[in-house]
């Protein structure tokens, strides 16, 4: 089985995000970037599938500007076999990404597409579900465990009430949650090896799908700031403050 992994380059999760003063977006110039953490989990899972023998090839795919290549190199260093870079400078929204990924999925015919549940920049949590819809495949979102069974997969999902297990036909789209695995760090030899692995460059414009944004972004603002309050000396003072000043208990 071939596994297709979709990875996105995002702002590093440890970076303090700043809104641009002209309210058009957030500062990205000279900001540390990284692979979206949920995509790391997706790559790790795909590589483990190959190591376990349930997959024989792992193909990483990313859509975006030239720099998306760095993210693909990371995926290759983690163990993906080859990569597809869909090149575009355009702003991509989830429906557009899903359409681009569908073109690659149609060509590659993977048995499974695995991706992050959420990109930590736009926080959309949409692309996997949209891709599954466009492909007419099942979707197992927010996965914390995947087990293959006779041409199907049992996927345990993290839901609001606890856990849910679904059995899905393959091919399917799976999106990862935090507890699926702990991604490895790429070793130096593997980083070197990854430099020789192929990245197929595809111009988004040549894929024949409409990727124009559907949502117009009017402005991006900083949320209202919360100020630090006071320190209390002990538990008794804390209880008194909560009861008498804040009036939230008692």
């Amino acid at each position: 089985m071939k596994v297709l992994v979709a990875v996105k380059r995002t702002i590093d999760p440890n970076v303090k995000v700043r809104v641009k003063s002209d309210q058009t977006g957030v500062e990205t110039a000279n900001v540390k970037m990284a692979m979206n953490p949920f995509c790391e989990i997706a790559v790790e899972e795909a590589v483990r599938m190959k190591e376990a023998g349930s997959a024989n090839e792992v193909v990483a795919v990313s859509a975006g500007a030239d720099k998306a290549q760095e993210t693909l190199r990371t995926a290759l260093a983690m163990g993906a076999d080859r990569a597809v870079h869909i090149v575009t400078e355009a702003e991509l929204q989830p429906l557009a990404v899903a359409r681009l990924l569908k073109v690659i999925a149609d060509e590659e015919q993977p048995g499974l597409v695995i991706m992050g549940k959420q990109a930590i920049d736009d926080d959309s949590n949409q692309t996997g579900q949209m891709l599954a819809a466009l492909l007419g495949w099942p979707q197992a979102t927010f996965a914390s465990e995947i087990e293959f069974k006779d041409g199907t997969a049992d996927v345990t999902r993290e839901i609001d009430g606890g856990l849910e297990t679904l059995n899905v036909n393959l091919p399917a789209v799976v999106t990862t949650d935090l507890r699926l695995n702990e991604p490895r760090y790429a070793s130096l030899p593997n980083i070197m090896k990854a430099k020789k692995k192929p990245i197929d460059r595809r111009e988004a414009d040549a894929l024949g799908v409409d990727i124009s944004p559907r949502l117009a972004i009017h402005k991006v603002e900083e949320p209202p700031k919360r100020e630090a309050g006071i320190k209390v000396a002990d538990v008794a003072e804390l209880v008194a403050k909560l009861r008498d000043d804040a009036k939230v208990i008692g």
């Binding site: 914390s144 839901i159 606890g162 849910e164 036909n169 935090l178 117009a216 630090a228 309050g229 320190k231």
Partner: protein, 317 residues
Amino acid sequence: MSTLVIAEHDNAELKRPSLNAVTAAQALGGEVHVLVAGSGAGKVAEAAAQAAGVAKVLHADDPAYEHGIAENLAPLLVGLAEGYSHLIASATTFGKNVMPRVAALLDVAQVSDIIGIASDSVFVRPTYAGNALATVESGDATKVVTVRTTAFDAAPAEGGSAAIEAVSGAGDQGLVRFVKHELSKSDRPELTSAGIVISGGRGMQSGENFPLIEAVADRLGAAVGASRAAVDAGYVPNDFQVGQTGKVVAPDLYLAVGISGAIQHLAGMKDSRVICAINKDEEAPIFQIADFGLVADLFKALPELAEELDRQGISKA
């Protein structure tokens, strides 16, 4: 203009987030209908019909809809979409799972997790773990939207008397089979709607120490939450996680115990009315947003807190 709210339920009970979605739907201005798709969920349809502000309930009864399977619900919604300007669900794991699939089938964008409605096509939504609020406009004919429940009050469960109309869809698409649920059971209030939430973090050191939190929670009638670190370490189940990629809560009082205050955690609780933190590190970032901070060892402070609540007669237990 009219809005279809997709109800979340377990075939017995209408879940509260659906009522938050009804309020958001009302803010759009048009007539509000609710879809109850389930199996033997007549009671849920009746409950939805009683919610204030609901003009009509569509009830789809089919075993295919028993477990809220997105692959089966999406074609049903697509079939119903034509009559509506907006399709709305709460941004729970249910809504997040189903709505993008519906949007893609309708060839429209989906607007995630909105916290504000500026007009029937302009919405405010948090991005970057709540560090940037984006105002976005959808030009699509059908707007598919999920709403953050903490940003919209729940509509009153009573006061309406909507008609219930039976509808049907294509049923089981044969793509997915439900296997099982492992749902957390608790007598405490539900995390996302509780008035008081007490969360524990890595500082708790083990799941065996969570009774220290529970003892305080029981006295205050509070829900119990956790940081990602506490969930990852297995102290508590995944559904306790508060944050950017867990649940968003906005209670009257949020008490963070042994939690450092990473941005991903703050994203899930910084809209709480009063924030209170207990941490032994006075430099912990959580103190930068806490209204009341106590620098203390939690293993000493939590038992003292339970005792003090008893002494002051504040205890509900």
